[in-house]
């Protein structure tokens, strides 16, 4: 069936049949324009012009906002407390719900047959990370945990227990890993970085406060020993009441078990390498000292 799109419709018919529209033919909708109040004119606007009778009100010499006639005002009597102290130094994590993640996979913007890390999420335009605004990465939020049903190997910066359970219940793998701000900026925008011609830097280790989190097997930290992670997976399955699927029999086992080295920013690319996009080549250092530095 053919639908003829006629923009304008009846309004266009009206426009074509009536005489030419000029300023003389136009008038605002009755009731749409209200006349403004003019002070100091006529019987009601005149006299004191809406300022009241004598005193600071009529004379316009009222004190500042918050002044309470001499008593210590509210905004000074309440003591200070550092609720927002250091707010600009606190790490922030952009939230990503499991519902949105499932939507991105369903619509084909994310490929579940490859490991999903922050670069893939940003390329799919699923999240927007601003490293300059103290963003340290993405956190998975458990909204939509019931309808999540994709088997993925995902790497985020923060994830709660419920999220880990939802991912592992479907046979997936979740890892929490840390990216320092420079590595994060490179991770979310790899192409402008490659065009700079600089060698890929080493990823720095997390600061003192974050190390316990990233070494915790219950949080699936990237620095945690793998045996403890496996025990934590079994414990979580028991806690949430699902059967942990055996990944070793899976055909995607190689993809699901691939993880980055703690010093690596990109999958498959080591620190120290320079990427030449114009010639589609990668240059690797051969000098001993460089190799030792990037290998440490």
């Amino acid at each position: 069936m053919s639908l003829i799109k006629k923009p304008g419709g009846k309004a266009l018919d009206v426009l074509q049949n009536l005489p030419r529209i000029t300023l003389a033919n136009l008038r605002p909708e009755p009731g749409s324009k209200q006349k403004e109040k003019r002070r100091g004119r006529g019987q009601y606007g005149g006299n004191r012009s809406g300022r009241g009778h004598k005193g600071e009100r009529q004379r316009g010499t009222r004190p500042r906002l918050g002044f309470e006639g001499g008593a210590t005002p509210f905004y000074l009597i309440i003591p200070k407390y550092g609720y927002n102290e250091g707010h600009s130094r606190r790490p922030q994590y952009q939230p990503l719900s499991l519902k949105r993640l499932q939507y991105l996979i369903d619509v084909g913007r994310l490929d579940p047959s490859q490991p999903i890390d922050l670069t893939q999420l940003v390329n799919a335009r699923g999240v927007t990370i601003q490293p300059q605004k103290r963003d340290f990465g993405v956190q998975l939020v458990d909204e939509g945990a019931e309808l999540f049903s994709a088997k993925i190997n995902i790497e985020v910066q923060r994830a709660s227990e419920a999220v880990i359970a939802a991912v592992e219940r479907n046979g997936g793998v979740l890892t929490n890993s840390f990216y320092d701000p420079i590595s994060l900026a490179i991770l979310i925008k790899p192409v402008p970085f490659f065009l700079r011609g600089q060698p890929i830097p080493k990823r720095m280790h997390p600061g003192e406060e974050m190390v316990p989190f990233y070494m915790d097997p219950c949080a699936r930290g990237y620095l945690a020993p793998p045996e403890q992670v496996q025990q934590a997976r079994l414990a979580l399955a028991k806690k949430y009441g699902y059967v942990l699927p055996d990944l070793s029999r899976d055909e995607l086992f190689h993809m699901l078990s691939s993880r980055k080295d703690p010093r690596q920013i990109f999958f498959g690319l080591s620190p120290g390498w320079v990427v030449n996009m114009a010639d589609r080549k990668i240059l690797k250092p051969t000098d001993e000292k460089l190799v030792q530095y990037y290998g440490s």
Binding site: L3, Y103, P190, R259, D261
Partner: protein, 173 residues
Amino acid sequence: MSACFTLRFKMIHRVLRCAFQLPGPSVIRLQPMCVAVGEQNPPCGTLETTKEYMFVERLIPPTRVPVPPRHDGPAPSGWAPPSDVPPSLPYMVRRSRMHNIPVYTDISHGNRRTTVLRRVEGDIWALDGAVKELLKRLTGTDRSTQVNEVTMSIRIKGHYDKEIKEWLMQKGF
């Protein structure tokens, strides 16, 4: 279950000096790879092509919206593709660029809630009537709507995006 497989980068150990560190006369060059003066030679380092370049290709963001894969019925997230045969109605609602239903909510002045239904084609007044009937059935009251024939969109007073999206999806738009 076996431990997680970590990707370790390979080290290639060779004794070479970089071309930009000008060597003194006492240096022994074992493999003069970067030799000639005035020649546009690559810096000292092995060149490895396509073998690892595929990892770089994976990082390049796509410039076009990908075509969604085929699903049997609605996907787990609630998204469903438009039906292959458009419904035989006097109006049509096209999908947006990202393959979603073009129903959006709007708020102005902090408290004025409206729902906008865009990308309408055909007889917009028939769709307006159908939407009014749907909302009458759901809420029991007459919701006021505004039809914009130039942009072919309908603006409804109140937030009804979930109901309208469901209704349109069930119709097959």
